[in-house]
Symmetry: C2
Subunit: 404 residues, 2 copies
Amino acid sequence: MNKKIILINNPAIEMVQGFHSNGIASGIKKNGNHDLGVVFFDKECDGFGMFTTNKVKAAPVLVSKKHIKNKIRALFVNSGNANACTGESGFNDAINICKEIGESFNIPYTSVIPMSTGVIGQRLPTTVIKNGIIKISKIINEPNDNQFVKAIMTTDTKMKIYGVKVKTENYEYSVIGCAKGSGMIHPNMATMLGFIFSDAVISKSMANKAFRSSIDKSFNSITVDGDTSTNDSVFLFNSNCANNKPITSSNADYKLYEEAVQMVASQLARKIVEDGEGATKLVEVEVKGAKNIKQAKQAAFSVATSSLVKTAFYGEDANWGRIVCAIGYSGIPCKPENIKLYFDNLLLFKNGEPTTFNEADASKILKKTEFKVTVDLGIGNKSWTVWTTDLTNEYIRINANYRS
Amino acid sequence: MNKKIILINNPAIEMVQGFHSNGIASGIKKNGNHDLGVVFFDKECDGFGMFTTNKVKAAPVLVSKKHIKNKIRALFVNSGNANACTGESGFNDAINICKEIGESFNIPYTSVIPMSTGVIGQRLPTTVIKNGIIKISKIINEPNDNQFVKAIMTTDTKMKIYGVKVKTENYEYSVIGCAKGSGMIHPNMATMLGFIFSDAVISKSMANKAFRSSIDKSFNSITVDGDTSTNDSVFLFNSNCANNKPITSSNADYKLYEEAVQMVASQLARKIVEDGEGATKLVEVEVKGAKNIKQAKQAAFSVATSSLVKTAFYGEDANWGRIVCAIGYSGIPCKPENIKLYFDNLLLFKNGEPTTFNEADASKILKKTEFKVTVDLGIGNKSWTVWTTDLTNEYIRINANYRS
């Protein structure tokens, strides 16, 4: 890791100047788990958001898309209920949550970003949420062990938080992010929900540039099950509280900021795949030797989303033919005789037929919990990488009984 | 059913004049199951084929694409090995099979259609196959219980054959088809392999027209796991042996022929989905109220291929939000407030929010082994229907250990 960018062990949102957070079990989830979280900003912040491309957008997404244009003072998330497919009533519920936050924290309701995640198509329990907000407003400054990150989880098995400190001779600031997501993971906005906080001093336009460039290679390059949800959103908020000289152009300081944001986004995205519903393996799929990025991306996603490829990973079966097959139906122009296929560094296929690789060597790689599949199309020099999982019995179990 | 088109109980390929078939266990499959089949044609026939759109085409597909332009005398299929991703050697193996058939049956090798299905990337056991062909050539006219249909199966649990008789005051002829397919089922050419035989007298151009129109709404409208294989192919062969007046224009007799071919194709396609790997449910997904067919198709496939939708079917969970979500990310323009969603005749969603339907009624429908999901987009009058399955633990089991 670049010496100027230092990994923070045990990061917490509070380590970023200007932000306070907490989370509680308000009673939305039947099982009594945490389900309501708030991040409160000491002062007005610039916020940036990217939202699901699904035509069916959840009510909080519609409200957040409006509010993100304003200066932001608070962020609300509930899990256990997505407030999606709930019509005008659901939209009003999301607005009313903002108003509750506004009243409890004494800020304009239009400076609140509301987010919801969980089951689709049920009305929010608004009284439960109202009481929860009042409760949180009283403990927002109390020390807590990332209860906000805990509160945004649904089928996640692990809390997902990652942070770095940018430290030079002249200044230091932090970039810390958290995310939730495990199923319905697919670009665009594979995150389900992602939040990145920084206290760097940076102009709105430069922060926006760094935000957008970092998402494509992180949250937009992972897949668990190919479903794009109604609620997927990712955000960046800057408090501008640190002591760095304001970043207003694409100079070296900007590059450092961009790198830090990219690093946090990538690690969070990777954590989501690692925690993919039922997943036992994290597989990096790189397609290289493509004529252009679009081709490389399309081919990589074709492999990374194939049920048959993912099931073979689960079975630890070196059924490489399914990968060549998925390249073949990806829709890109390609010829089998140009393709080379590797598991880690083991070459399995070239000149249109299998090499004389040792089956035991291939099995050894597939038995690992993390490995890499590389497909060289042999027709250019562009590449793209996607992270995916295996497809397992546990995925079926989790999703067959999700609502019950 | 139209009185002129009569269902044949216990159909067999031999019931179509001019065709003889048989199948054996030649030793390609380790488990000793049937794996080699031949259909022999008494005289030269017109043949029509549609092949996988996968850029990685198996060797027999490449050979068949050439040979189908000739008059056809025989059809060869082996299961247990797909002869795909086998390079030039594999191509030569496919040609040599045609030559073996040519020699054993005393016909030109260019009049043979070879087909293979099974594991990708392994060379065919050519000596085993050669011996099998000699054996079959000796028993090709012997009565047998559809051993050819048995020989083309891989992970299929059931033999798939369906046939009708077209009977008018003036003439009668048969249309009988068989297919294999269970996984890697997705258009184009969802069939894996499908063969339709008829003894109707019909011009090449009219038979071709009927063939192509029937495939779109049958083999091209089913999905099991979203994977399009390297070997998918479907064929129609006409022996012209019946006593009907030659069909040479789009008259009423042609319509009858087209309807019969369409019926056989649809039933075979449906049988493939019904026997989908691990499937416990057959679900018809109709998207109607679309502006055009393309939109309807795209939306229907988005629902029919969603892992989350299919897993909810398996769990018999009325998680209808996942269906609305899949419409939302299908890429078609739509507004939630226009959408209506039904399970059979039960309306679950309209005006952008759930109706006050009874959860027990929805569960009752989902507990059936066959039911229908209808999505009305509310923006036009075009519709499309796709057949799909649930996604189950058994699918994972079958495909995780396929090669072992």
